[in-house]
Amino acid sequence: MSDSADRVIYMDNNATTRVAPEVLEEMLPYFSDYYGNPSSMHNFGGQVGRKVTEARQKIADLLGASPDELIFTSCGTESDSTAILSAIQSFPDKRHIVTTRVEHPAVKNLCEHLYSLTGHKHKVTQLPVECDGTIDLGKYEESLTEDTAIVSVMWANNETGVIFPIEQMAAMAKERGILFHTDAVQAVGKIPINLKKVPVDFLSLSGHKLHAPKGIGVLYVRKGTPFAPFLIGGHQEHGRRGGTENVTSVIGLGKACELAALRMDEENTRVKALRDRLEEGLLASIPHTLLNGHKTDRLPNTTNISFEYVEGEAILLHLDRFGICASSGSACTSGSLEPSHVMRAMGVPFTAAHGSTRFSLSTYNTEEEIDFVLEHLPKIIADLRTMSPFWEEAMKAEVVCGCNCKKN
């Protein structure tokens, strides 16, 4: 619907990101000039192999990992599936998995459908979250049993940006000899990660969330962790993932990780300041507006705000008219009929869940763009509210939030 918008203001970086120009430049020669197979014996392929090794090193540097702990995959979802299914194969007698109610479908749906894949019934504990999206470590500790094969908890939530205490959680699993996987797709490149200090066994990342292309992912497997491959084929990745490497994307991801390391400060200062400016501006100028998620334990680029009594898709399409790209946890945008499982897990009231709107920024955003959103969004919300049959009623009676905690 952005027919009339002559520019794009992209604030949906948790969905996907622009391939950085530096990344594209690094990739291009490997499509046409240096197209060799990195496994080949001749130097034409060998030089590509060396470039892949270089890229692997750059990715390892961003994570504080060793290059041989990384396995290239096709996407974050493949990394998640590989890790969880590997752990289940490694511990065939253990039939319990711990995860959370707010995981990405890549983990959530896999855990819910393990029976059809493994033929075994696994008990899956989906840990609840508090209404600010954080996790109760006490409940987590209680959930760990002798029968637990693996814990899979995301590092940061895609919808709210809330960061989980992965270092502590991984340590608690490790003490009990339980494998720990984290889906760090949203965290890598946005916050510092050092796997020398954080004792996770598996970590998933996805290239297109940090300015590399779509179609490349990585699974980190800590040295010494039992591992069973998901894709079986050739000797690539030391037999841990068959299939010719997606060379250009691997090179692109290497460059993107190098850039992410360089821009980490900017992400956590300038981008964070832009996010805060947007968030504070919207909360101040639009009444009946709630912040979804913990205020500080959060990615620097993400804000998720609910505008009560209006519906998310309508907000997005009006924003789209101005070329502003955002996303929503409303039912209508997902194609399902219920609002996002994250909003429901947090107990966001229905009055607000359908109107939840996520803005996720990147280093490419500017202050001017933030001001543009602040200029146009209040009127969009006001217009939609005039049209909403619930707004007038709500104005008459003070609405009580069903949640115990204080939101703004």
Binding site: M1, Y309, V310, E311, G312, E313, A314, L317, H318, R321, S330, A331, C332, T333, G335, S336, L337, E338, P339, F350, T351, H354, T386, M387, S388, P389, F390
Partner: protein
């Protein structure tokens, strides 16, 4: 992203008749905040039973707002007797169509209109008196049956697209399947000309299909070294398996559709569809 028609986009961006008619003769309120969409329709009706004004307030997505706007445009100036005949498909057609997952928005429009007319007449709507089958979205069996009937729905997924029933926890899917069969069965019966048995149960249907297979289809196929076996009859869908030389024949699909299906439609039911199943 949804592919909306230009007319949907236009009515969403510039909705007509937003608000409430003062001193309304009829009010129709459907949907709820929990469900994700809701519509309040107010109408005024004059002595000649003509709708002189109509306004709406809607909470919902683009297609919900566009459907509401379209509805008010359609009914303004319309005699009540005519407005009563408006179907959800009429609303969707007015907008140049809706994505299939959004058809429930047009159903919401039709329901609000009915509710408004009922409130004007001071009567209770029969639909609300049905038994709730989908608890997530509060949809009754009467509403489901009506949607199936009017829109010729063929699957539970389509029921969800049109009524939202079954779109939440999914516990009611079996019940929806049963309602679907019930209505389809009625439809099938009313479509059969008199020379065929008045009521046909699934068992009768299977028997008749077997008879035709045995009497006409099998002998023909056997001439070419082929054979056919009936695997299942599910509503109007007949699953068969081609055997012998038919199973490897390049033209087996043509045989299935042009010959087997045609014969079964002629002699059993003209709504049957023949599909090949791998036994």
């Amino acid at each position: 992203m949804w592919e909306y028609t230009d007319k949907v986009k236009e009515h969403f961006m510039n909705p007509r008749n937003v608000g409430e008619v003062t001193g309304a003769s009829g009010i129709g309120e459907v949907g709820s905040l929990a469900c994700g969409d809701a519509l309040k329709l107010t109408i005024s009706v004059n002595d000649q039973e003509i709708i002189t004004d109509a306004k709406f307030k809607t909470f919902g997505c683009a297609s919900a707002i566009a459907s509401s706007s379209a509805l008010t445009e359609m009914i303004k100036g319309m005699p009540l007797a005519e407005a009563e005949k408006i179907t959800n498909q009429d609303i969707a057609d007015f907008l140049g169509g809706l994505p299939k997952e959004k058809m429930h928005c047009s159903v919401m429009g039709r329901e609000a209109l009915e509710a408004a007319i009922a409130s004007y007449r001071g009567v209770t709507l029969p639909m609300a008196e049905g038994e709730v089958v989908c608890e997530c979205f509060g949809v009754t069996d009467l509403e489901v049956k009506r949607a199936v009937q009017e829109n010729n729905l063929l699957s539970v997924e389509e029921i969800t697209n049109f009524t939202k029933a079954g779109g939440g926890c999914g516990k009611c899917h079996d019940r929806l399947e049963a309602l679907l069969h019930e209505v389809r069965q009625d439809k099938v019966q009313s479509a059969i000309p008199d020379r065929r048995p008045k009521r046909m149960t699934t068992i009768q249907k299977i028997k008749l299909i077997e008879e035709v297979l045995e009497r006409e289809i099998r002998p023909t196929l056997r001439k070419d070294g082929g054979d056919i076996e009936l695997i299942d009859v599910d509503g109007d869908i007949v699953t068969v398996s081609l055997r012998g030389s038919c199973s490897s024949c390049m033209k087996s699909q043509t045989t299935l559709k042009e010959y087997v299906e045609k014969k079964l439609r002629e002699q059993v039911l003209d709504s049957l569809t023949v599909e090949e199943g791998r036994a």
